[in-house]
């Protein structure tokens, strides 16, 4: 029953976020609305972590598996991909590495600047 209840809570949050998505004046995906909504519920104490813990562990622990059907759908687009597959590969690989490096570097740099400022204030 515990797991069943947690299923209910999380699916409920997802449904409410679908409703929110429907009434928002701009397009914003329900899954991210659900994430923000659940975080707000937890932070305000409306939901307690015990209400969702096991189910969340199950979903997060198996996250990669839930992408299998989305990946298999590539089978439908073989024709479109044939002509540009090489460019697509290069673009994906290069931009993934660039994005990773820029994000990691900027975060590290900002953290360092913050710490320096803090240190400066102390001194």
């Amino acid at each position: 029953m515990k797991i069943l209840k947690q299923f209910g809570v999380i699916f409920g949050v997802c449904w409410v976020s679908l409703v929110i998505e429907h009434y928002l004046p701009f397009s914003f995906p329900a899954s991210v609305i659900g994430m923000i909504l659940l975080l707000i519920c937890l932070l305000t104490g409306f939901l307690k972590i015990e209400h969702v813990q096991e189910k969340a562990d199950f979903l997060l622990g198996n996250m990669a598996f839930f992408f299998v059907p989305a990946g298999v759908s590539i089978i439908n687009y073989f024709d479109i991909l044939k002509s540009t597959v090489l460019q697509l590969l290069v673009i994906c690989v290069v931009s993934t590495i660039v994005t990773f490096a820029v994000t990691a570097y900027v975060v590290t740099l900002t953290v360092k600047l913050m710490e320096k400022k803090k240190g400066g204030r102390k001194a």
Binding site: M63, V72, Y77, V90, T108
Partner: protein, 226 residues
């Protein structure tokens, strides 16, 4: 026989078996190329092609698995909640880093599309490729992009991120768990996050956070340029 394939048990069962084989291979070979997700996709595509099973039959079960994607994304909130102290302490680097990462992603894709001489519709299809599928589609579709291309690029980028993440952390000497997690989330959204969760708790939570923040920032940027 044909009707048996359209039972949801077929798609779900095939997916679980394929992913399980991928996991076993991954544990045995320990090479990042042997990503369970890739192995599962290749195996299933192979089975469908060899036995001439229509994608729609598989997708009866596939849609059931797909249904768990949104709840799984929502549950990243739980990962973030348990690391809320990190979020409070590092909110500035998180926002600045995600902004820079989103800009770098869009700019690098745009630059390479121009370099390869790809047309406008292809370019707008690829520009949002580092963010999670629903956001990427909501950007590319109204701008005249080809939705299937966006979907393929998003998933491929995600798989790439999850394969490359451990190597990239080493190559770029990323010692900070917060920076590593955000970088994984920024470059490869939820698929990469599934890997970040395996690397560490902070990495997982920060990667999840980056999905949301980079998603929002990418939407804002695309409103400005498209």
């Amino acid at each position: 026989m044909k009707e048996l394939m359209t039972s949801p048990y077929f798609g779900v069962g095939l997916s679980v078996v394929a992913f399980w084989i991928g996991e076993k291979l991954h544990n045995k070979l320990k090479t990042p190329i042997c990503n369970p997700l890739i192995v599962a996709i290749v195996l299933i595509v192979g089975v469908l092609l060899i036995f001439d099973i229509p994608y729609d039959s598989y997708d009866v079960g596939g849609a059931l698995i797909n249904m768990f994607l949104a709840p799984a994304t929502a549950c990243l909130a739980v990962a973030i909640y348990t690391k809320i102290d990190v979020l409070k302490k590092y909110w500035l680097p998180i926002v600045v880093g995600c902004t820079a990462g989103s800009a770098a992603s869009m700019a690098s894709v745009f630059g390479m599309c121009k370099l390869f001489g790809l047309d406008q519709s292809m370019t707008v299809s690829l520009i949002p490729k580092s963010v999670t599928t629903p956001i990427a589609v909501s950007i590319s579709e109204p701008a005249g992009g080809v939705v299937p291309i966006t979907v393929v690029a998003v998933i491929f980028t995600g798989i790439l991120g999850s394969i490359l993440a451990p190597t990239l952390i080493k190559i770029f000497h990323v010692k900070d768990s917060v920076a590593a997690g955000l970088a994984i989330g920024a470059c490869s959204h939820a698929v990469g996050t599934s890997k970040a969760i395996e690397i560490g708790e902070i990495e997982g939570a920060m990667s999840g956070l980056a999905i949301g923040i980079c998603g929002i920032i990418t939407v804002l940027f695309s409103m400005l340029i498209m």
